[in-house]
Symmetry: C2
Subunit: 188 residues, 2 copies
């Protein structure tokens, strides 16, 4: 698995179920979302703009994707929707590691730069440091139709959150019955 193959395998429509554990408070939050991951050509204006923000040549980008989500939180029915552009910039001497750039456009537009690494087991690890937060996220495929993500956020005041997301590929199939069938096929 290389970074481009990981992006390609992530493309499509997913049902995403996220649970966050607030470690200090022994509490949790649960949210569900439809997610669409779309591969972007690296000569697209949003990719070029994001590279230029970090003074990186867009020609060094290996791959890019746009992620769109529409999350509903359990209980309070709070909604969060937005989209994000991701760009990977492999290291010259080792393409299994490199920089990744992310632009998040929801209420206000922000961007971050971090590092990615594809492990020998095919998992993708993303690490970022921004403001007072250090984040490490591990993403991997339990099967081609079942993606897992575990993210640990450590704030400088010591409070941490660990969140787990299971994602089932839905393709273009919208009905609940079909989702259930896809969930079953995710097991195989």
């Amino acid at each position: 698995m290389n970074i481009k193959e990981f992006f390609d395998l992530s493309a499509g429509k997913w049902f995403s179920h996220r649970t966050s554990h607030h470690l200090a408070f022994q509490q949790f939050e649960d949210g569900k979302s439809d997610i669409v991951v779309e591969i972007l050509a690296t000569d697209r204006p949003e990719v070029i703009k994001l590279c230029q923000r970090y003074e990186i040549s867009p020609s060094s980008a290996a791959c890019s994707a746009k992620v769109t989500w529409n999350e509903i939180m359990e209980g309070n029915q709070k909604k969060d929707s937005g989209s994000s552009v991701l760009v990977s910039i492999p290291d010259v001497d080792n393409p299994n590691e490199g920089k990744f750039l992310q632009e998040i456009g929801s209420t206000k537009e922000t961007s971050i730069i971090g590092r990615y690494k594809i492990g020998s087991d095919g998992a993708l690890t993303l690490t970022t440091e921004y403001e007072n937060v250090s984040a490490e996220e591990r993403l991997w495929f339990a099967s081609p139709n079942l993606r897992m993500r575990v993210r640990v956020l450590k704030r400088s005041d010591g409070f941490s959150t660990a969140s787990f997301t299971s994602e089932i590929r839905m393709g273009g199939i919208p009905s609940t019955k079909k989702v259930s069938e896809t969930a079953n096929s995710a097991a195989s």
Copy 2:
């Protein structure tokens, strides 16, 4: 990290928070538990008995632990308590992989045999096949005081469960205030 170091680092008292995602039903369950992990000498009667059940020489065991839990599920306040004995039997040619044996004693006593592997990233992966279920569990330390576990169960009828457990080391400190402090120190 080798298997013995992983067991040693796991020893102690933990606050364990588990969330299970039932993939086909888009539902979840949440449970909290105190867990005690105690290292067992490999000449203990329960270790010898478990090895003998699988016709394995107890002298080939690398390490063993006893895990005791006391879980309360969210909502219905359903309780589950029990204990489990784990034994690792490294392969002769590669001690980073091997068999693991587990005896689970709660309402009825059952035992299983599976495979373990310590990855180059220090994570422990356990795989088992029993009756109609195939299970893969990945355990790793986000920090010495914060352990993560992700388990995927695939049943032969196609229904899958993915569960995530975050575990914070508590040492011998019982009060909530102290747990909170430990959770904070887990971030460092």
